[in-house]
Structure formats: structure tokens, C-alpha cells
Amino acid sequence: MVCVRPSTGLNSFSKQILDSTDPVEKVYRALERIEEARGLNAFITVDKEGALRSAEELKRRIRMGVKTGRLAGLLVAVKDNISTKGLRTTCASRMLEDYIPVYDATVVEKIKREDGIIIGKTNMDEFAMGSSTETSFFGPTKNFFDHSRVSGGSSGGSAVSLATGVAELALGSDTGGSIRNPAAFNSVVGLKPTYGRVSRYGLIAYASSLDQIGPMARDTLSTALLLQVIAGGDSRDLTTSSREPQNYVEEATRGVKGLRIGIIKEGFMNIDEKLSRRVHDAIGVLDKTGCSIEEVSFPFLKYALPAYYIIAMAECSSNLARFDGIRYGGGRAEGRWEERIVKIRTEGFGEEVKRRIFLGTFVLSAGYKEDFYIKACRVRRRIHDDFKLLFRDFDALAIPTMPVLPWRIGEIMSPLEMYMMDFETVAVNLAGLPAISIPAGFVNSLPVGLQLIGNHFEEATLLRLSYAYENETGFTKWLRIPSA
């Protein structure tokens, strides 16, 4: 794969990529690589024809000297819960096994408009409900560094498509950590933007007040570039902000001298000592770059996880009520209306999805709503307000991305134990904040992620820190991608 190391702004960044490779050849090489790495199960659908068609068209335009877009020739992997017109979008569920969207998500439209080449749709936990990509109807995605372990999730396929060198950019979605977790577990960069920074139009909803699409890549500037393309207001998603996106690529290179980082001490409690030390060491690198670092306390953080699950499940039970098999995801209309819907939902949803729909229905039911759902929404307010207080004194907060190393496939059997894996990531979604996971090195040859959390719409600050850290550590070299 071509290694791009841009030092200046966006235009030269795109140009270097463009000059270096024939897009059609690049697609063929990626297809070969997908074949080689098939055992890792990163893709649900590979769009060979579509990718080759886009590459041919781009090549023709380059020859003619027509101006090309900001992602010209870059290969993009798209999580399979993001709608792609004419290209199967399954949400890794049997329910949508044959579903072909009739429109593109806004983010996909934007990528195509900028001449990005969509190479395929990536594996994930079913309906993004999981932390390991093990709940996929199509089987788990395996960790790049140890194939017996999980890739993390729910955007596991997107992270592995990057780690294996197939894609240069990837889209994930993050409801409670689903971009950051697999980024950490496969030593790539994953950014969950501020809620409302990126349109969710065309994202198949799990929990609408928490879901956010975001960019993933092997390096900081590629992440910044993809964010720059997909960010912005959208009249088709009324939760988006009309605030103008920044030039994130330029912003990322601005330097970090004087930035104030708070280390959330509660994020390091009850976690593996080696992992904790590794993350502290990574934060130490930022210390060297001229940031000031201080430990802070966030005692209320412990309530984020149960509050998150109550809210996410409540919203999921409502969002997934639409799957009745009539407009999509169904077979022949045999039997009575109700029996048919029950049959389709029982056969179409996997165990974890059913469990979350069930619990969501329960916490919203008469007699329990005030006790669980409303109470969780009060916790959400408190978490949000506590974060805002911290951001009076700090530009970013640091915490591990994951409390553990990638576990063995099938090792975690208890649903509650699996939910606990999201301890470090969910508070960010409750508060609608941006957060990035960057490679923090290895423990026992398995990757660790450092998570940096920013104030609302401060993605640029996170990218600056990530870029400074990348320059110090050269973390892109930690991925040992076989040369094609």
C-alpha cells in the first residue's frame, strides 16, 4: 500500500495520493488483499464491480484533466449499517440479509462526490449491538494481531479492513464506543465526532440520541480528511449542526504546545496494571510535546454504564419495532398478521438483539419508566454537566479506550460481563462529546488504545493531539502490513 505522509494542507495531501497510484490497479490490489485476508472476515459484501467502475471512471477523468475530488482514488470501507444505494446493507442481521437500499446515506453521497472508491461493506455486531463483532449473523471478525481473539466492535470489520491494508479510510458508527473499541483493538485511529457533527441520514438506527457516524484510518491526517468530507449540516437529519466544519487536516498540524490534558483517574481503576501503565506511558508522550498534564476526578463516571444501557435499550426497542417484514426483510405473507410478524422477528433477530429489545420494552413500560428510563436520563444530564465543568479547565481528557486487552473469541459468555467492556467509552455518547482512540502500543503483543475526549465540536483539538503523538511515536509502523 502507498504510505502517504503529508506535511501540509489538504490539497497537497490529496495530490500526493493521486499522483502515486493508478486507481484501477489499486482496486485490483485491494481485491487480492481481501482474498488473502478472507479468514479475518472483515467484509460482509465486497463491491468488486462498483469499485472497479468508480476507479475506471476516475482514471478516465484524470486522463482528461478533469478536476477530481478530495478523496480521489482513496479506498473506503463502509460499515454495513450505513445505506449504500444498490449495494446490500445487512446490519449483520439475518433480518436484512437481502436488503438493498434504494438511496445512499448522506455520508456515502459525500464520499462518492469527492471521488472516494467504496470497496465494500464491513462486518459488525448485529444492528451494532455488541462490543466484539461476535453477534454478527455472518460470524465474528478476527483480530488483526491474533486471529483467535476478537476484533472489538461493533465496527470490527472497518478496523480490520484498515489494519490489513485493504482500505485507506473506513466509516464506523459509535453508539457506546463502537468506533473507538475496535480502533484500539487493532491499533488504528477511530474518531467519534460530536453528536450532530455528521449526518445520520441513511444510518440504520440503533439508539438515535447516541448513534454517530465517524471516520477511521491508519493515521491521523487520513482520519481528519474523512471527517472533513463527511461533517456538516444536513436538512435530512434535523439533529445535525449547521456550524461550518473546520479544515481538520490543517488544524491537525497546528501543534499542541500549551494544551491542557486531564487524566480521569476513575478510568484507570480496576483495570489490568500493565494496560494502565501503557496508557500512562502514552500520555507521557504528550507531556513531552508541550502539553500540561494533570490528574482529575470524575466520581459520577461509574453511573454512566448502567444509564447508557437503559437509554440505548429503550431507544433500540422503539427503533427496531419497524422490522415487521412487510416493507423489507420479509418473505411471503403467510398466516395472520400478528403471527407473521412474530415469526419474522423471532427468526430474523439474533439473541443479543432480542435481549436488548426485551429490556428496552421493560424499562419503558408503565410502572418502570420513571424508575429506569427517566432516572437514566437524569444521570445523563449530570454526566453531561460534569464533563462541561471539566472542560472549563482542560482542552482534552485522557482515559484508556478499553479496560482490557482483546479477549478470545467466545470467552465472554455473560451479557452483563460484555456490557462492562464499554465502561470507558459510553459516557462520551451520553454527553454527545467527540472522542478519539489512538494506538498506545502493546501489552503481551496485543494492542492498547489511548482515548482522548474533547469538548463539543472540538474534533480539531483531538486531531492535533493525535497528530503530535503520531509524529513522536510513528504508530503507523506498528501495523505490519504485508506488501502487496
Binding site: Y99, V102, Y103, Y195, S209, G233, D234, S235, D237, L238, T239, T240, S241, Y303, P306, A307, Y309, I310, S317, G325, I326, R327, Y328, G329, G331, R332, A333, E334, G335, R336, W337, E338, R340, I341, V342, K343, I344, R345, T346, F349, K354, R355, F358, L359, F362, S365, Y368, F372, K375, C377, R378, V379, R381, R382, H384, S414, P415, L416, A431, G432
Partner: protein, 98 residues
């Protein structure tokens, strides 16, 4: 308000019915065990006394409101493209009445 909630087998069946999901006996048993374990964990939120307003969405709405004018819509073919079963311009569902 913070006493332990224990969901019975009958309640599992009741809520599953509301979810339009059917469960085998073994699934009822497993779900009951999981749900009671998870609800016990949720109790730490239930027992909190917080004097703040609930937050449902982080952002306010309104920024993206536009004039209510007709825009582009899906073609008929597109609307029915993924239908389980259709009859000309109708989605076919199971029998509702009778």
C-alpha cells in the same frame, strides 16, 4: 423505590409478546436469568436521587428546520424493491381481521 425487581417467567412471556418475539422454554429460562442479572445492575441508577432535569437529547432541535415544501421522493419501483410480498401498488401483510 429501590427494592429488588425479579421478573417472573410469566412476565418474560408477557414482555416478549409486546416485543412480538416468541421464545422456546429454554430461551425463556435463559432470558429470565440474564434479565434479572442485568436489572439488578441497573438498580444502582434506580436508587439514585438526582435533582436535575432528564436529558433526552444533547442537542436542541430547530437548527435544521426548513420550509415544508414537496421535495424529491422515491419512485414506486424503489418503494416496493425490498417488499416481502406485493400486489401491484400494495404491500401484502398477513390477514388482520376475521
Amino acid at each position: 423505590m429501590s427494592g429488588k425487581i425479579v421478573v417472573s417467567k410469566e412476565e418474560v412471556l408477557h414482555y416478549a409478546k409486546l416485543c412480538r418475539i416468541s421464545l422456546s422454554d429454554a430461551e425463556v429460562e435463559r432470558l429470565q436469568k440474564d434479565v434479572n442479572e442485568i436489572l439488578e445492575y441497573f438498580n444502582i441508577v434506580r436508587s439514585l436521587q438526582l435533582d436535575v432535569e432528564p436529558m433526552v437529547y444533547v442537542t436542541g432541535f430547530g437548527e435544521a428546520l426548513r420550509e415544508d415544501e414537496p421535495g424529491e421522493t422515491l419512485s414506486e419501483d424503489d418503494v416496493f424493491k425490498n417488499a416481502g410480498e406485493k400486489d401491484e401498488k400494495w404491500f401484502v401483510s398477513g390477514q388482520v381481521l376475521g
